[in-house]
């Protein structure tokens, strides 16, 4: 059975949590990190809900898998904060959405 867009975007949402955990040591940015998780998690969930059950486009599953691996490999908390903004955009583009 083909992977669906919503399944991939929920996987990307999980990666946001991984990045937020990595960013934890930057205490001054705790609120900003929580805000980014809320805002971008909401954006990913909204797209997932809107395209629930839709077959993912070619290459999207491999893209989200590799994106999750990249997020997991980030150990620098400051880089993780930057990626909290980057990962959702890459995920949305990978499934054919336009995040603009």
């Amino acid at each position: 059975m083909a992977t669906t867009v919503d399944a991939l975007l929920r996987r990307a949402t999980d990666s946001l949590g991984v990045l937020a955990d990595t960013a934890t040591p930057v205490e001054d940015e705790w609120q900003y990190v929580r805000d980014l998780v809320t805002v971008w998690g909401g954006a990913l969930r909204a797209e997932a809900d809107a395209r629930a059950g839709h077959a993912a486009p070619a290459g999207a599953e491999a893209a989200i898998d590799r994106l999750a691996a990249e997020a997991a490999s980030i150990k620098d908390p400051h880089r993780a904060i930057d990626w909290l903004s980057t990962l959702p955009l890459v995920a949305l583009v990978a499934v054919g959405a336009d995040p603009r």
Binding site: E29, Q31, Y32, D35, L36, V39, W40, A43, P57, A58, G59, A60, A62, A63, R66, L67, A69, E70, S73, I74, D76, R79, I81, D82, W83, L84, S85, T86, P88, L89, V90, V93, A94, G96, D98, P99, R100
Partner: protein, 227 residues
């Protein structure tokens, strides 16, 4: 209101070498003509962990996948190559290069709307009776009656009270002098992220214009990327 070259202190001399590095001009040139997805690729790869180009090709199937046309793939490969060049220079260096690239990109895009002779870098703006700001503006457009001051940032974390206050002060002092100065914050980051960052700031931002990853082409006088 008048403009003045910033003093060449030690920091400026070191940073000038970064700005003059050929990779900065190469990246800015590619990004000026890039699509939204290509600019996003640059942001991700310049800020990423892996230097393996195949990993990035996998993450961007719309640029490198079988559905991508040859022209798109060639452009995306060029953007990827320059991005990994920057990323491979180490954490400290990549931070400086990324900032310099956003400044150079801003200059290039502005050059499509205003005469290049009106565009300047690293300039201070002086007002009679007002103490000079310590930090110069990254890019200025100096046209009679239509001046613009740009502060360029790689990411939304660069939005802070000091930046907002400086831009607001400049705009207000210009108005006090009967001049018009457009104060712009250019951020190579998602607009939604920038708004999230701004939402917790208490510094004034009335009259502030913000250009983000999605709206860079507005500086060139267009509303959408060429591709």
């Amino acid at each position: 209101m008048r403009f003045q070259n910033a003093a060449k202190d030690a920091r400026a001399i070191v940073y000038a070498a970064i700005q003059a590095d050929p990779v900065v001009a190469r990246a800015a040139g590619l990004l000026a003509d890039a699509s939204y997805a290509e600019r996003l690729l640059a942001r991700a790869a310049m800020n990423g962990e892996t230097l393996d180009p195949e990993a990035w090709r996998t993450m961007f199937p719309t640029l490198f996948g079988p559905g991508s046309d040859d022209a798109t793939a060639i452009r995306a490969e060029a953007v990827l190559a320059v991005s990994l060049d920057v990323a491979g220079r180490g954490e400290q260096a990549r931070n400086q290069f990324r900032g310099a690239i956003v400044e150079a990109l801003t200059e290039q895009l502005l050059g499509r709307r205003v005469p290049p002779t009106a565009i300047h870098r690293e300039r201070r703006i002086l007002f009679d009776g007002v103490a000079t700001e310590i930090h110069p503006y990254d890019v200025t457009v100096e046209l009679p009656g239509a001046a613009e001051a740009y502060d360029c940032k790689w990411g939304a974390r660069g939005i802070g009270a000091d930046v907002l206050n400086q831009l607001d002060d400049a705009r207000r002092h210009a108005a006090d002098d009967g001049e018009r100065l457009v104060a712009v914050l250019v951020i190579f980051d998602a607009g939604r992220t920038c708004q999230t960052r701004l939402a917790r700031q208490t510094a004034p931002r009335q009259g502030l214009r913000m250009v983000t990853l999605e709206t860079l082409d507005r500086m060139a006088g267009t509303t959408v990327a060429r591709r």
